[in-house]
């Protein structure tokens, strides 16, 4: 049935149980390596909860009544113009490929979020893995200290299933990191429960782990089953992370003040900085959600009312963060191996509603790819004058997924075995990668 999963577990289980089991945790603690992994390919997803307006970001329509008051500006690539709210990104256009012809039929937050984040429509009881779990699993390095998929400030309530590892199993579920903003406006991040209680001495924590080792030995020696092995493996990974130097990635105060400022002193900006620090330490997938201006949980881009001010404000957070991320990655030699994706679950209605807002619009909208594996400085697809329909090169969700896979060096047709034993390709059957966007 689930042969792949079982054999994978058997292997790791054997290595764990092979040696003398007692004292495995303290031994492990001593073995924790200095961080010195060479980063392979990575992916950063900038996730725009609520569905960002294409008209106020990457596909402005000045002069048409649907365009509203939004003006367009020139970019570093002649002939490509984007909305006035993104001046810093405009100077980085050589590394970005705009897709202006995204099209789906899903106008509901729950279904659309699931679709864009997994590449599959919700169907029946099978839960598909989120992109981060798929990519994380495919690109993770054996023995890494940090998890394969890290999700910064996600807003999950509208579509919880879109934020899980689905049939890949909890071992690949995202490690969720939440931000904290103190009274002075300083943003910090922490993994929940990463530290032992303050009243415990280091020696006492070691003793606890030793006692746990005694118990695990008496139980697991005669019960070599998957749940026990997974328990042991997760505890090992958790302890490794608790003691790893790689968790200093979360210490943003190690960064230069000027750089922190450039990213923006807000949860999204500092989240992008954290993403760079994690990618630098070999984490294959990091996503940063922009849900609200101050990091509040919500579908921030769901601008049914007062669209122009709301999107302008959000872009004020997005523009410095994303453009600094690209510069920072480039300066550290990481950009050519790091794919950066910008998208939400759908776009907004070209027609402006009575509340100066724009409603859900899945038919013709924009997404952006940049950095590793992507041929920047171009626009793919276009919409009609009024923005109501795709005119050239429509891009369906599976096509986008296939393009993302290819940019990361993965075969979109490679399969994972689902829990019902059916092989499921990374990108849905019939997906066609957009060759013109790939290096």
């Amino acid at each position: 049935m689930t042969m792949q999963r079982i054999s994978r577990r058997r292997l790791s289980g054997l290595s764990l149980l092979g040696a003398s089991l007692s004292g495995w945790l303290p031994r492990l603690a001593a073995q924790v390596q200095q961080s010195g992994q060479r980063p392979g390919r990575s992916c950063i997803l900038l996730w725009m909860s609520g569905g960002p307006s294409q008209m106020e970001t990457f596909d402005p329509h000045p002069g048409h009544e649907n365009g509203g008051p939004t003006k367009s500006i020139e970019t570093s690539v002649p002939g490509i113009r984007i909305a006035e709210h993104l001046p810093k990104l405009a100077s980085q256009m050589q590394d970005l490929a705009l897709i202006r012809s995204m099209t789906t039929k899903e106008g509901d937050h729950t279904r659309a979020t699931y679709y864009l984040r997994t590449g599959y429509l919700p169907q029946g009881p099978l839960t598909y893995p989120a992109l981060g779990s798929l990519v994380g699993r495919a690109l993770q390095v054996e023995g890494a200290d940090l998890p394969a998929c890290i999700s910064i400030n996600p807003f999950r309530a509208l579509s919880p299933a879109a934020f899980t590892a689905g049939f890949l199993g909890p071992a690949w579920s995202p490690l969720v990191v939440a931000s904290d903003t103190n009274a002075d406006g300083d943003v910090s991040f922490q993994v929940r429960n990463l530290k032992s209680a303050a009243r415990l001495s280091g020696g006492q924590v070691d003793e606890r782990l030793r006692l746990l080792g005694v118990l695990e030995q008496s139980f697991l020696a005669d019960r070599p089953d998957a749940p026990g092995r997974s328990h042991l493996q997760s505890y090992e990974r958790a302890v490794r992370m608790m003691r790893s130097e790689s968790v200093e990635a979360f210490q943003l105060e190690q960064e230069d003040e000027v750089l922190r400022e450039a990213y923006g002193r807000n949860p999204f900006g500092q989240g992008c900085l954290l993403a760079r620090r994690l990618v630098e330490r070999g984490v294959p997938f990091v996503e940063v959600s922009l849900s609200g201006l101050a990091g509040e949980a919500g579908p921030g881009w769901d601008t049914h009312a007062d669209n122009f001010k709301a999107v302008g404000d959000l872009c004020g957070v997005l523009d410095p963060a994303w453009s600094t991320l690209l510069t920072d990655l480039r300066q550290r030699g990481l950009l050519e191996n790091t794919l950066v994706i910008w998208m939400g679950e759908f776009g907004r209605t070209p027609k402006i509603n009575d509340n100066s807002g724009r409603d859900h619009w899945p038919g013709s909208w924009s997404a952006v790819l940049g950095g590793g594996g992507i041929r920047g400085g171009q626009v793919w697809g276009s919409v009609s004058e009024d923005g109501m329909e795709v005119r050239e090169n429509p891009v369906r969700v599976p096509d986008l997924m296939a393009t993302i896979c290819r940019a990361l060096g993965l075969d979109p047709a490679a399969t994972n075995l689902s829990s019902i034993g059916r092989p499921i390709p990374l990108a849905d059957h019939g997906a066609v990668a957009i060759e013109q966007l790939l290096v």
Partner: protein, 523 residues
């Protein structure tokens, strides 16, 4: 049709259902054991030993009460020397409210596997759970319970359909979660109650199985009276039901099909019944072999970790049963006992197979298909939290108006969310890093293992008349429902006696107990 089914199950149809002899619990359990012993023999399998009383009492409480036993309950059971004490315990737990609560959660998970996928589905759960609670607490037979579910009046109440469904004690969530779409309802009905996965046949003829697209839509036609929720919202109309509708058109094919049962039989429309009533009568009929076998397989899987057909709702030619005769026996006896689920529970828990130890003594026990050793299974999030509460003496505050509504702000709510599992098989239960971190360092376990805040620990350390050895034993009973092994006793006592503060050292032991796989799994 019987022939076809016989082929499918690999059994001969020498006994038509009406000639099935009604067996007692003891007779049925003995027959199950006889069949297993024969299959072990022919496969050269050496089954595990019988479980110890300590092993059994913990497993049974988790399976019937949804939590581990209290120290006093363990001591009482171990001290009981009646030979039939295991069956007595089954009976008394089956009568407890804890059983109703636990079965409510298990059947909610079984019947609404998609329930946690989005916010609006989650809001429908309390009403569904309240309905299940009523079924199990008043002992409604399984066939009647399913018939109620399949024929309930679905009054969507207003344009967005949802508010009315949210508050009522009703199985309507089964419909709302499937968005009142005929195709989703057909697929859901077929999986949940017949064990047949038709989902693929929705869009095309099934690639490996015999189901054709037309058969799928014929089943969907029984639900054709509904207007799907999203259409109703778009048209600003109430999602009323046309109860006599019995045809549906296959999308993108322009072909219209009439309602027909799974194997293509046409229903008898002569009596004045709605389409759903006609469907429900056929689904829940004692003569419908799919129905009783699916139920028997589901209950077996709840107690044994996996079905005789596995996955539990995938009966097909390509997925044969591991022990078809056992399944047939249980299905027949379920019918003979008027669909009394408790009869099945009593029978299964009375078998030698259920009462085997989980300790592996021979390599032939390693394949779960043989059921030659008790499975090591993951807990539901509810089982885990309620066991933690039991072990640590945490008092759970419930909301008085609806005990099923768990605020996300409580320790219980936080736990359930963190331990919610997407996986389908308890035999493949996986632990995440965040779960491990929460158990090791999280506030709840930390309070439970600190002398100031833990009920269990605080009381134990302050109680003057106990030796450290007795304290150690009590902690083992509280967390693992057993006394320490000699090797554990030596290692732990040495640690406690060498430390400067015995109380602090006992807290460390308790922490290790609660973080062990033995505590966090059923076995």
């Amino acid at each position: 049709m019987l022939k076809l089914v016989a082929l499918l199950m690999g059994v001969c149809v020498c006994q038509p259902p009406q000639s099935v002899v009604r067996l007692s619990v003891a007779e049925a359990a003995a027959e199950v054991d006889r069949l297993f012993e024969r299959s072990w023999q022919s496969a050269g399998v050496q089954p595990a030993e019988r479980s110890s009383d300590e092993e059994f009492v913990r497993r049974l409480y988790l399976d019937l009460a949804g939590r581990i036993p209290a120290v006093s309950e363990v001591r009482q059971f171990l001290g009981d020397d009646r030979p039939d004490k295991r069956y007595e315990l089954v009976d008394s737990l089956l009568d407890s409210p804890a059983f109703v609560r636990h079965f409510t959660i298990l059947w909610r998970n079984a019947l609404l596997p998609e329930a946690f996928n989005d916010l609006s589905s989650r809001q429908l759960l309390p009403g569904f759970e309240a309905w299940l609670w009523t079924q199990f607490s008043s002992g409604v037979p399984y066939d009647r319970m399913v018939r109620d579910l399949l024929t309930v009046r679905v009054d969507a109440g207003g344009a967005d359909g949802v508010p009315a469904l949210r508050t009522a004690s009703s199985p309507a969530a089964f419909y709302a979660i499937r968005e009142l779409r005929p195709e989703n309802l057909a697929a859901g009905t077929s999986r949940a109650f017949l064990g047949v996965r038709l989902d693929c046949a929705q869009c095309h003829d099934h690639p490996f199985d015999r189901w054709k697209q037309g058969q799928f839509w014929s089943l969907a036609a029984f639900y054709s009276g509904f207007t799907p929720l999203d259409q109703a919202v778009r048209m600003q109309s109430a999602a009323g039901e046309r109860r006599d509708s019995r045809t549906i058109s296959i999308p993108d094919k322009g072909q219209t099909v009439e309602a027909a049962f799974l194997e293509g039989e046409s229903p008898d429309w002569s009596s004045p019944r709605s389409a759903r009533e006609v469907l429900a009568d056929w689904v829940t009929s004692a003569k419908n072999p799919w129905f009783s076998r699916m139920a028997a397989n589901r209950v077996w899987a709840l107690f044994m970790g996996q079905g005789i057909v596995h996955p539990v709702d995938d009966f097909s030619e390509n997925n044969p049963a591991s022990h078809p005769e056992v399944l047939q026996l249980l299905a027949d006896q379920l019918v003979a006992h008027e669909f009394d689920l408790k009869f099945l529970v009593r029978t299964i828990t009375a078998t030698r197979v259920y009462q085997l130890s989980s300790r592996q003594t021979d390599v032939s026990q390693s394949d779960p298909l043989h059921f030659a050793r008790a499975a090591v299974r993951g807990l539901t999030p509810e089982q885990l939290f309620d066991s933690l509460a039991e072990a640590t003496g945490y008092y759970q505050p419930y909301r008085s108006d609806n005990p099923f509504v768990i605020s996300a702000e409580t320790p219980r709510g936080t736990f359930l969310e963190l331990f919610r599992d997407e996986g389908d098989s308890p035999l493949q239960k996986e632990t995440t890093i965040l779960q491990a971190l929460a158990m090791m360092n999280g506030e709840f376990v930390d309070a439970a293992t600190s002398l100031e805040n833990s009920q269990t620990l605080g009381g134990l350390v302050e109680f003057p008349l106990m030796t450290d050895e007795e304290r150690l034993e009590t902690l083992f009973l509280a967390a693992l429902s057993r006394r320490p092994l000699q090797s554990e006793r030596v290692a732990m006592l040495q640690y406690v006696q060498q430390s400067e503060a015995a109380g602090v050292a006992l807290a460390d032991v308790f922490w290790a107990l609660l973080n062990s796989s033995e505590f966090m799994l059923n076995h």
